[in-house]
């Protein structure tokens, strides 16, 4: 199933920083690289469905500009200049359709760019298209996309994870080098793990969400997916900055997340919270994880087992808070301002009822109803307020853990990629897919998933969590592990993608 990339391999399977070196040495131009990406997209998309929109003309225009810049005309080039990237389709792109994977936004063309898109453009990155996702980023398998489910490039009978499944699958399949995803409960890290790529959720507030279609505002965070850790660090350098248009954004402590990334883990204190290895962990995932822990220990870190007793309550906290916030955020889809609208209604109330009833898919409806119920009179204290109080305790539990250790290591997902359709009948079993990733969103922590081997033919992810603004330290840990293993060189074989 897997091939190793070597010197003469398809350039689209290189990490972005190596492709960038080819651009710098004039072995290839950005226009040529972009054409390679577009050819590969055309060839693989019928099997993968990672993109909702491909923008070849815009991409080639940007690539021409990037080539000028790489030739010394224009602003100084940076690490992403000339590199084909994808943006998840819940981030606004001026003049390019943005659907959030929902029928209710079909035909919507934003008049402005999200801040992260603006930053990618000014870095000279080439946006080749918009990534498929679970509707409004609600899901763990991409089967909630209103348009088509994304397929996992390692095995197209299986899901890529979600909700940034398009982003993870496109990076894994070599349709682009880097993708921006969003992570509300694991939506970057879990698909990264299931598709064998690196995915990072930065600390809450480090990256502006202006122009991100809101799902759960106290949890949503934008971050990079890439073929290796260095690519994610370079991307974070471009997108991490305070933005006056997102009042929750903050200026982070680092200017350059690649600096010191190769300093190693010698003397670092890493902790394994035993609750993350409790019931539901597949034997193949457990065994890959245990080997990864051994590897980190052999690299000189000190490993200790700890207990985070509230872990088991995180799922309930999340599935109260996220739907509650979603029920408020999604009230704006009324059939009047943008997107879908039903024409056969007699009055404005019917327009709203029908537009929302027909425009939202089942999972989105379920979460709106769940959130509105948790917020309603008589239930607010028992559900919403209680969840927010337990959120305080979960944050405290992490704070105490980080007094004793520098980072936590866990599996990213309790299972490898599952078969399409295997969890769609039971929402609760789908929600359990996020059990290892959700706590970081509740506490606002940074987390990264890095490939840690295989269970059978399917990739397994190692998750590294740090304290707020410990983004550089978790990247350093992930980098040390990645460089000591060869998982980053494994790719799904494109002629086997079917």
């Amino acid at each position: 199933m897997a091939i190793r990339s070597g010197g003469s391999a398809q350039p689209m399977l290189l990490p972005a920083h190596e492709a960038r070196r080819l651009l710098a040495s004039k072995n290839i131009s950005s226009v040529e690289l972009t054409r390679l990406a577009l050819e590969r997209i055309e060839k693989l998309e019928p099997k993968i469905h990672a993109f909702l929109t491909v923008t070849p003309e815009l991409a080639l225009e940007q690539a021409e500009e990037a080539d000028k810049r790489l030739n010394g005309n224009g602003p100084h080039p940076c690490a992403l200049t000339g590199i084909p990237v994808m943006v998840k389709d819940n981030m606004s792109t001026a003049g390019v359709a943005t659907t959030a994977g929902s029928r209710i936004l079909e035909g919507y063309v934003p008049p402005y760019d999200a801040t992260v898109v603006e930053l990618l453009r000014s870095a000279g990155a080439i946006i080749v298209g918009k990534g498929n996702l679970d509707e409004f980023a609600m899901g763990s398998s991409n089967e909630n996309s209103a348009f088509a489910p994304v397929r996992n490039p390692w095995d197209t009978s299986r899901v890529p994870g979600g909700s940034s499944g398009g982003a993870a699958a496109a990076v894994a399949a070599g349709e682009c080098f880097i993708a921006l995803g969003s992570d509300t409960g694991g939506s970057i890290r879990q698909p990264a793990a299931l598709c064998g790529v690196v995915g990072m959720k930065p600390t809450y507030g480090l990256v502006s969400r202006y122009g991100l279609i809101a799902f759960a505002s106290s949890l949503d965070q934008i971050g990079p997916l890439g073929r290796d850790v260095l690519d994610c660090a370079h991307t974070l350098n471009v997108i991490a900055r305070r933005d006056p248009r997102d009042s929750t954004s903050v200026q982070g402590p680092e200017d350059d997340y690649t600096k010191g990334i190769d300093a190693g883990v010698r003397g670092m204190r890493l902790a394994v919270p035993r609750e993350y290895l409790a019931e539901g962990i597949e034997p193949g995932v457990r065994s890959a994880f245990e080997k990864a822990v051994g590897k980190l220990e052999s690299l000189g870190s000190r490993i200790e087992e700890i207990s985070l007793p509230l872990t088991g309550h995180a799922l309930a906290v999340y599935y109260i808070i996220a739907p509650s916030e979603a029920s408020a955020n999604l009230a704006r889809y009324d059939g009047f301002k943008y997107g879908l609208s039903t024409a056969d209604a007699a009055n404005s109330w019917e327009v709203m009822d029908q537009t929302r009833g027909r425009g939202f898919g089942p999972e989105v409806k379920r979460r709106i109803l769940l959130g509105a119920y948790a917020l309603s009179a008589g239930y607010y204290d028992a559900y919403y307020k209680k969840a927010q109080q337990v959120r305080t305790l979960i944050r405290r539990e992490f704070q105490q853990a980080f007094e004793r250790c520098d980072a936590l290591i866990t599996p990213t997902s309790p299972t490898v990629a599952f078969k399409l359709g295997s969890r769609t009948d039971d929402p609760m079993s789908m929600y359990l897919s996020d059990v290892c990733t959700i706590p970081a969103n509740i506490a606002g922590l940074p987390g990264v998933s890095v490939p840690a081997g295989f269970s059978g033919h399917l990739p397994v992810g190692l998750q590294i969590l740090g304290p707020p603004f410990g983004d550089a330290a978790i990247l350093r840990t992930a980098y040390a592990y990645e460089q000591a293993t060869e998982w980053r060189l494994m790719h799904p074989k494109s002629d086997l993608i079917q």
């Binding site: 006056p244 929750t248 997107g339």
Partner: protein, 96 residues
């Protein structure tokens, strides 16, 4: 916990302006009841006197200088409306 009734579901659907078919009401009723049952475990956590957390950052009210700046043009904003007429959005009657 009491299972949700069809009336409960219809009531929240009205509050959230979601048209649901009878079969959707029944499906949501069963699924939401099941999900809410899983949440009951939170009652075991002792939270007396614990402050709720809304946001995970410590940022409080954020202010800025009140200075006018460029904004989107009206046509840009209304161009996405399903039914617009010059500078207005056209809607069906609200009061009858």
């Amino acid at each position: 916990m009491q299972p949700l009734s069809a009336e409960d579901v219809r009531h929240i659907a009205l509050l959230t302006r979601l048209e649901l078919s009878d079969s959707e009401v029944e499906e949501m009723r069963a699924q939401l009841t099941n999900i809410l049952e899983h949440f009951q475990s939170l009652a075991e956590v002792h939270t007396t006197g614990v402050e709720p957390t809304g946001h995970s950052t410590n940022a409080h009210t954020v202010t800025r200088v009140d200075r006018p700046s460029d904004s989107l043009l009206r046509e840009q904003v209304t161009s996405n409306a399903p039914n617009h007429d010059g500078e207005f959005l056209r809607v069906k009657p609200i009061l009858e």
